[in-house]
């Protein structure tokens, strides 16, 4: 049940934090922090147990050694729903990411005064629900967490956002819920057409022989939800707004976590459940991804709002992830996995930095910023690091991931490989634009006087260390992702051969 604790601890932590201030003032952040740290401890415990004792997943045939932990218990047997949580390396990596980012965001919003209890709760719940997404293998429970995940994010945008926050929050919700309907319909379909007792057990469904045409349609339902969350053009319209209007911690969780759930879903389920459908739809995914990576980069080149710019780079990078996954070869999928992790670090850090600038001068317009180099050298130095990460400088995890995706693309089709390479070139254009406007030059209208504080620098250093560490010593990450990649690639190749 330790797996459940990874979800429940943050959830109840958020619940307690919501009411903690009624008893002792200013305890909400301590509660939130404690619950997330405890969740992290539980995760470490589970991981260690899984690694040390080997597979504990006797219930899954033919995949011994892949699963670090498995938990199965009844939830609503009447509906055929069970609590089926499983963790392999992919889930584990993303769980670490989710809890880590949760802790970072709690620290970052330590001095928040406005409705702090609710903010802490929302942070904890975001982590809890996305942990649920990363762990659930009962498709209905997965869909349940998937939909639930939007609520805290929605709250964060709607309450602590900037500008037209309500409209943005609704846009966010509408986009994702309508897409979520596709997922729900597909899940219901899978459940209700099961022969024998109704079940949503992904492993059982994966073992089932579904008609390829049906697979295409059901997969389309799944993919819609994932691609909107990812987001891939033309489904991305919610993201720039959401990123721009959300508070800094909201942007960090959006970029670091919520986008990753879409990538995770694409990574995990299409190949596992619908290999035939995947084989049919993957070329279209590649086209979308190729379009998105160029398109996102081009639009980013023209942005004036720093956060929007970074948001569009997210679009471009997540399109690379889509390409990697749809490529369906070992290199590209591994690359997609690494880009997911790397993007979580780099985009979160950039949002953090821009948020810090915004806190100081009240604008994110890059035409008004400048002179960071002279006034705030620590700012400039960290900015330079994540600037390099954004344009995939070797040595950062971003480069490793993109290089692997490109390698895989060469195996698939050189056209896609060259498109990815072109996007690498364009990334320099937008990254230098952002960098030189913000860091270089004389101070324009908005002068940043105060350098990064230690409370800001701490999280940034953690993120920077992650970027460089996984860029230079990615072996651990690759070993963790390998079983999931192998499983997916194996399933795809079994069909295409």
């Amino acid at each position: 049940m330790t797996l459940g604790a990874i979800i429940l601890l943050p959830f109840f932590g958020g619940l307690v934090a919501l009411f903690a201030n009624l008893i002792w003032p200013r305890t909400d952040r301590w509660v939130a922090l404690a619950s997330l740290v405890l969740g992290m401890a539980a995760l470490i415990f589970v991981t260690a147990q899984g690694v040390l004792t080997g597979s504990s997943a006797a219930g899954i045939e033919g995949e011994a050694g892949r699963w670090l932990a498995l938990h199965r218990s009844d939830w609503a047997p009447a509906l055929g729903v069970q609590i089926l949580l499983a963790m392999d390396g992919l889930s584990g990596v993303l769980l670490f990411l989710s809890l880590g980012l949760g802790i970072l965001t709690v620290i970052l919003s330590w001095n928040e005064t406005e409705k702090s209890a609710l903010l802490m709760a929302a942070l904890c719940w975001t982590v809890a629900t996305s942990n649920g997404v990363f762990l659930a293998f009962d498709l209905l429970v997965f869909a349940f967490f998937w939909e639930l995940m939007m609520v805290p994010a929605f709250l964060m945008i709607a309450i602590w956002g900037h500008g037209t926050r309500e409209a943005t929050a609704i846009k966010f919700l509408i986009f994702n819920t309508i897409a979520g309907l596709g997922l729900l319909a597909a899940v219901f379909y899978l459940g209700s057409t099961s022969e024998g007792p109704v079940t949503f057990d992904a492993f059982v469904i994966a073992a089932r022989d579904i008609d390829p045409t049906v697979q295409v349609w059901v997969l389309a339902g799944f993919a819609l939800a994932f691609m909107v969350k990812l987001p891939v053009p033309p489904f991305h319209a919610w993201l720039p707004d959401a990123h721009t209007q959300a508070p800094t911690v909201g942007s960090i969780l959006l970029a670091g976590l919520l986008l990753k759930t879409g990538a995770y879903g694409l990574f995990r389920f299409p190949a596992m459940l619908f290999p035939d459908g995947f084989a049919v739809l993957a070329p279209y995914g590649l086209i979308l991804g190729a379009f998105g990576t160029i398109y996102g980069a081009l639009v980013a080149c023209g942005q004036t709002d720093a956060k929007r710019l970074v948001a569009y780079t997210s679009v471009a990078h997540m399109s690379v992830v889509l390409m990697g996954i749809c490529g369906g070869v070992h290199f590209s999928m591994m690359g997609a996995g690494i880009v997911m992790v790397a993007h979580a670090f780099s985009a979160s850090a950039l949002f953090l930095l821009i948020g810090a600038i915004y806190d100081r001068v009240g604008t994110r317009d890059i035409r008004q910023l400048g002179g960071l180099q002279r006034n705030a050298p620590r700012f400039a130095a960290t900015f330079a690091l994540f600037f390099s990460a954004t344009l995939a400088m070797p040595g950062t995890a971003n480069f490793l991931g993109e290089a692997l995706v490109i390698t895989g693309m060469f195996q698939v089709n050189w056209v896609y490989a060259s498109i990815t390479l072109i996007s690498l070139v364009i990334s320099v254009v937008y990254a230098t634009r952002l960098f030189q406007r913000v860091v270089f030059g004389a101070s324009r209208k908005a002068e940043v006087k105060q350098d990064l504080t230690w409370r800001e620098l701490g999280p940034i250093l953690v993120l920077g260390t992650g970027t460089l560490f996984f860029g230079l010593l990615p072996q651990g990450l690759m070993v963790a992702l390998d079983p999931a990649v192998n499983a997916a690639v194996g399933a795809i190749q079994a069909v295409t051969k």
Binding site: L298, G302, M393, G395, T407, V428, V429, Q475, M478
Partner: protein, 672 residues
């Protein structure tokens, strides 16, 4: 990773890297002296390690491949390694030596900068040095690419070092973007090789390329060539280099003489065995090389800025290296690499010292009176210039260039044509090099100095500090006598003694001398020197290539000189061909044109609006159709429409109910 003595190789870049990290990340304020010490340690220690290692290597005890650690990606094994082979030793030693010299020189040169900027400067210089050394010593394609890219990043920061100058920022960005294009080619080539050989180790990769099929060989070779051309500022990727002169002089000396721009040549030297499998690509390299060389020389001849002149000369000299590589003589190219590194860094440093603090910056006129103002630097400049011009026998440059020319002549019929081009280029080289030297001999003229700033010039010390003079003198010596090393280097790298016909040697020797004559004409024939003064005035005033007829009638000579001064207007061409369409496209995508911002994101909305306008509007009077077309009309409008159904009159409600009943009854009645 096992500990072995060979791991000492790892230390070579590590010291420079460590210096970067200390300077860049050390949180407390360092004093100026400490910054100098750290920077010098980072700059000099690699040389101290490289020198004995090279000696060992020359003695036949090369370290070879030094594995660092190994990654597994699925079935593929990625083994990271460093390597020390003769090529790496030669180039590595050169690079570390030049690096050390430049860093030493910088201490005086950068004396006026603030402490924070100084820290940044030295940190980046050290990082750059580390990156270059890493690339040179790389034993696998990943580490190679790491160093290669990191250089690009550092060059961006260094060229844009003066962050308040729009010109230097733009120049940095231009350099970064253009070299990034080349990087993309290289990355593609490396990944394709990796896929083929299933290894990243160069010692596996390059031999394995023999088993590539013909098409793939050409593709990969072409990609490598593209990468090299871009990084080495060869035509057609060369335009970033003249702009990059906006950076400080030591940066130019390091980046644009020995290291970054020559990296492309080094790349082709590394992959020479592969290139030889694709003769078509080689010929292309040779042709492009000679074209670049000629182009660079012609443009350099009419430059009015000493640094731009040197930049074009770099382009030109690396063109020679490319030519040599193209004709299958990488050893000669390596030798020229070494010589070029020595004399070009020397030229940059000397010119920098001469023009330092001048009001007109690095304009050629700042060179005037150098002989009297800065005798040491001027002598060094003359030595470097002579070597660049390739004055026969007495300069190092002549020996290496001669090796290349000999190799070209041995390249068959095509080789003869190429040789001719190369000799003509050598003539031009002699001309522009000696032109700069001659201007240094001319007295200062107050008419050239419109500002009171020339006071500064007079007050500058006649001789620099030991920190400037020592590297200048050492390099000047090298520029003259290092010619004796050309043959040993080529032997070391495994090449035969270059031999050419006596006639060709005479011709090649005569060419630079003729060039000197041409320079004399340019400087002292009144009509020509007057024309050049016109060019200077126009180009300084307009900051752009004047259109025909603009600024009064010009003689054909002036127009030609202007055209060449502006690098044959490649910049304008690229502006029209790439930059403007790109900017236009981006602006269009962001809503400056007729389209909305982020058109794809808004297309669902647009589609709805379009549908509404095109389909629903003409049918507006027809309520029945409108009901059917509700999907297009927008749901909210539908709401406004539908809510009127709820009229509030009970009779209407009853009417609706009656309608419902009637409908159901009709359904029954109408269904058999």
């Amino acid at each position: 990773m096992t500990l072995s003595p060979a791991l000492i190789l790892l230390l070579v870049p590590s010291f420079a890297l460590a210096a970067f990290m200390v300077l860049g990340l050390y949180p407390y304020t360092l004093r100026r002296r400490q910054v100098h010490i750290i920077a010098l340690l980072g700059g000099a220690l690699p040389l101290l390690i490289m020198a004995p290692l090279t000696g060992l290597c020359a003695a036949g005890h090369c370290l070879g491949v030094v594995p660092i650690f190994t990654l597994t990606v699925g079935q593929s094994v990625v083994a990271l390694a460093l390597t020390l082979d003769p090529l790496g030793a030669t180039i590595g030693l050169t690079v570390s030596a030049i690096g050390a010299a430049v860093l030493v020189y910088s201490i005086t040169y950068m004396a006026a900068t603030s402490l924070a900027d100084l820290r940044r400067f030295f940190a980046l210089m050290n990082l750059f040095l580390a990156a270059m050394l890493t690339m040179v010593l790389a034993g696998d394609s990943i580490v190679f690419f790491l160093g290669w890219e990191l250089m690009g990043l550092c060059s961006y920061f260094l060229i844009a070092y003066n962050t308040t100058s729009a010109e230097s920022i733009t120049a940095g960005r231009k350099a970064f973007i253009m070299t990034r294009v080349a990087d993309a080619y290289l990355l593609a080539a490396l990944l394709l090789l990796f896929l083929h050989a299933n290894s990243v180790r160069l010692d596996v990769l390059i031999p394995a390329s023999a088993t590539l099929d013909a098409t793939m060989t050409i593709v990969i070779a072409a990609l490598l060539l593209g990468g090299a051309l871009g990084k080495s500022a060869q035509v057609p990727f060369h335009t970033w280099l003249p702009s990059a002169m906006a950076g400080p002089t030591p940066v130019s000396a390091l980046l644009h003489s020995a290291t970054m721009v020559a990296a492309g040549a080094f790349l082709l030297m590394r992959f020479a065995p592969l290139m030889q499998l694709a003769p078509a690509v080689q010929v292309a390299a040779a042709v492009l090389g000679v074209a670049t060389a000629a182009y660079g020389a012609m443009s350099a001849l009419f430059q009015q800025d000493v640094k731009r002149l040197l930049a074009y000369s770099s382009i030109s000299q690396i063109g020679f290296m490319m030519l040599s590589l193209g004709v299958g003589a990488p050893e000669a190219a390596a030798a020229h690499f070494v010589m070029h590194a020595i004399f070009k860094s020397l030229l940059f440093l000397a010119a920098g010292d001469i023009t330092h603090g001048c009001v007109e910056g690095t304009d050629l006129s700042s060179m005037r009176g150098a002989w009297t103002r800065k005798p040491v630097s001027y002598v060094a400049f003359v030595a470097g210039g002579a070597s660049l011009a390739g004055l026969p026998m007495i300069t190092a440059g002549w020996w290496s260039k001669e090796a290349i020319l000999s190799a070209v002549q041995g390249f068959g019929a095509v080789g003869q044509v190429l040789w001719l081009g190369a000799v003509l280029t050598a003539l031009l080289t002699g001309a522009y090099a000696s032109r700069a030297i001659m201007i240094g001999l001319m007295p200062m003229r107050d008419s050239d100095m419109p500002h009171a700033g020339n006071v500064h010039r007079h007050e500058a010390p006649r001789t620099g500090t030991i920190w400037t003079n020592l590297p200048l003198m050492l390099l000047a010596t090298g520029a003259i006598v290092a010619g004796v090393l050309v043959t040993p280097i080529m032997h070391f790298l495994g090449a035969e003694e270059p031999h050419a016909s006596a006639f060709s040697v005479y011709v090649a020797a005569a060419a630079p001398l003729l060039g000197v004559g041409l320079a004399l004409a340019l400087v002292f024939v009144p009509r020509l020197s007057e024309g050049l003064r016109n060019v200077r005035a126009i180009s300084r005033k307009a900051r752009k290539m004047p259109r025909r007829g603009e600024g009064g009638p010009q003689s054909r000579f002036v127009r030609l000189a202007l055209w060449l001064n502006w690098g044959m207007r490649f910049d304008g061409l690229y502006q029209v061909m790439f930059v403007r369409p790109f900017v236009k496209g981006v602006r269009w995508l962001n809503g400056y044109g007729s389209a909305p911002a982020d058109p794809v994101g808004t297309w669902p909305m647009l589609a709805l609006v379009w549908l509404q306008q095109k389909i629903t509007a003409p049918l507006a009077p027809d309520w029945f159709d409108k009901l059917w077309m509700w999907g297009a009309a927008g749901v909210v409008r539908l709401w406004a429409l539908v809510r009127r159904v709820q009229t509030g009159r009970v009779r209407d409600y009853g009417f609706a109910m009656a309608g419902g009943i009637a409908g159901l009854l009709l359904l029954v009645w109408g269904t058999p």
